[in-house]
Symmetry: C2
Subunit: 359 residues, 2 copies
Amino acid sequence: MKEYGIIMAGGGGTRFWPLSRKALPKQFLNLTGKDILVNETFDRLSGAVEKENIFVVTDALYAEKTLEMMEGRVSKEHILEEPAARNTAACIGYAAMEILKKYGDGVLCIVPSDHYIREEALYARTLRQGMDLAKEKDWLVTIGITPDYPAAGYGYIKSGGEEKAGSAVICRTVEEFVEKPSEAVAEAYLREGGYFWNSGIFIWRASVILRAFEKLLPDIYECLTVIGDATGSGREKQILREVYPRIPKLSIDYGIMERADNVVMLEGTFGWNDVGSLDAIALLHQKDAGGNVGVGKHILLDTEGTICYAKNKLIAAAGVKNLIIVEAGDAVLVCPKEKAQEVKKLVEQLKKDGKEEYL
Amino acid sequence: MKEYGIIMAGGGGTRFWPLSRKALPKQFLNLTGKDILVNETFDRLSGAVEKENIFVVTDALYAEKTLEMMEGRVSKEHILEEPAARNTAACIGYAAMEILKKYGDGVLCIVPSDHYIREEALYARTLRQGMDLAKEKDWLVTIGITPDYPAAGYGYIKSGGEEKAGSAVICRTVEEFVEKPSEAVAEAYLREGGYFWNSGIFIWRASVILRAFEKLLPDIYECLTVIGDATGSGREKQILREVYPRIPKLSIDYGIMERADNVVMLEGTFGWNDVGSLDAIALLHQKDAGGNVGVGKHILLDTEGTICYAKNKLIAAAGVKNLIIVEAGDAVLVCPKEKAQEVKKLVEQLKKDGKEEYL
C-alpha cells in the first residue's frame, strides 16, 4: 500500500510576533538556528515516509514562499494550495481527497509543520508503527504524547484499555479528547495516569478518513466530493476556489476525532513540544549558567532565565529575570516568559490600531 | 564688568548607552523631544548671559560636531577645544585663562551641558543674582539645590549660616562638600536641613578662580600660565596640545571647592536634575495612566512604570513593570529602572569584550 506524508503548514502563529509576520508565518521561522520549522519537519518526516511522497498543504498565499523556502524538498505539484484558511478538518479532507483521486488510496501520515521533536529516530519509528496499523485496520490512529509535566497549555487524550493490533504494535483505545485543562486538573491527569497530550499527528488511510467525513461531516464531505470529482476536468482550480471557502471552519479534533468510534492512540515517547509561544525558544537551545538562552548578538549582565532573540541588533540586558526579548524586523518585543501568550493580544491591538505595517 | 557663560560639554555619558555613543555623547542627545541637551542648556543660559558671550568647552574630538549640532548658536571661536579630557578643574582653569587673556577679566557663569531645569526663568534669575555677587565680591559662588527627596545619587553641600551680600542677595557660607551619601544618610540630611544638592554650577570672576588655582593647585596653575602666555604668539594651539594633556585629572570640587575659604552658596529652587542615567527620561515626559513614558513608536499592554525609548523600531511591551527599554542604532537595552546605573557596567563589558563597534 502506498504511503504519503502530509505536512499541515497553515500559516498564522501570531504568538511568535515579531518573529512571525503575516508574510512570514511560524513554519518559516528558524527557531533552532539550524533550519526553518517546516524544513525540519520535512527532514524528520522523511525518516518515516519517502521524500517524494511528502505533500505540504498551505494557504495559496504562501505556496510560492513555501516552494522557495523548502529549497527543492518538494515540487510545485506536492504543494496543495488552500484557497482560504478553513481549519484542520477542511485541510485534511482536501489533502485526502486530492491524493486519493490523483495518486490512489494509501496511508496518510499527517503532521503539523511547526512542532519540536527531541528524538527523531524514535519519532520515525513510532510513525512507521502507526502506518503499519493503519494499513491493516480501518482505524483513525493518533499519537498521544506521554506527558513530562502537568501542562495546562495542551489538549489531552484520555486513553482506554490497551489493545493489541495484528502487527504486534501496542496501541490504546481512546475514551475522550479533553480541552486544555486548568493546572490543577492537569496535575490530577498526571497523577491518575492514562492521559496523553494531543499531538495533532494523525495516521490513516485516505479512504478511511473520507468515510469518516461522509458519516460525521456530510456537508464537508459533499464539498470534498465536488472538489474530487473535478480532478482531471481542467477546472480543478476553479472548482476548488469556488467550493473550498464555503467549507465550515472546523478542527479535525472537534469534527471527527471526538466523535468517531474507530480512533486509537499510539503512545509517543519521543519528546514533543508544540512550540506554541515564544517561551518555547528556551527549549530549543543550550542555556547559560544563568538559565538564559541567547540567539543572535546579545550581552547579559546579572540576568536570569531570559530569552534573547536578536535578528539584527545587539540585545543588552542587565538585572532582568525571566523575560523574553525579541528584536526582529521593525519591532522589539519585551514580555515576561510566563506571559508569552499575551503576545497574541499585542498583535490584536496592533491590528485594531490599524498598524498593519507591523503585522 | 563683562559677563561670560561657559558650558562644560565634556563628553562621555556611558550611562545613556545605547542612546549615547562614543561619537554621540550625552550632550548631543534629544531626551526631551524638543532639542539636544547642549542646545537646551545654551538657550536657557541665554536668559542670564548674552548669547554672544557664551562659550562651550569640549573635547577637540567633538568640536566640529558641537559647531554643527548647535546650529549657529556659537561660532568656532567660542568653542574652546580641550586636547584631552582632564576633568573639570583643567576645563574650568583653561576656560578662565583663555577668556582672561583674550577678552579680559569678567564674571564666568559655568554650567554643565547636560542637566535638566524645570523653571527656566527662576534659573536665569538665580544665575543673575550669582553674577551680581561675583562682581562685588572675590567669592567662589556655587548653586546648591534645595532637595526634593533624599537622593543618594547626588553630592551634597552642607551650608553654614546666612550672610547678606552687598547687593541684597542672600547667600550662604559653605561648611562642607559631601560625597554621595547612603540612603539613610540622605534621609538624615533632609530631616536635619541645611544640606543642598551640589549642582556643578559655578559663578566667579576669571581672575578670582585663577587666584584660587594659584593658591590651591599651583601645578595646574603653572600649566595654565604656560597656556595663557602663549596667547597671541601664533603657537597657542601647539602649546595647548603639549601642556593640556599633562594637567592632572582633578575635579573642581575636589581641587578647589572643598578647600577654598571664599566659597558661598546660592540656593537654587528652580527644579534641577543631573539627568545622570536613563531613568531620568521619565522626568522629562508626560506619563500615561500606568506611569509609563514612551518616546518614539511603542505599544504597551498591561505595563506599568516603564520607559520606552524607540529611535527607529516599534517597542512592544506586555505585562512588564518598571523597566527601561531603549532601541537605538545597532542595539536594544533592557534593564529595570532601579538598575539604570548598571548600564555603565554593560558598556564596560562591551569594551572588555572588544565590541568597540557598539560603543
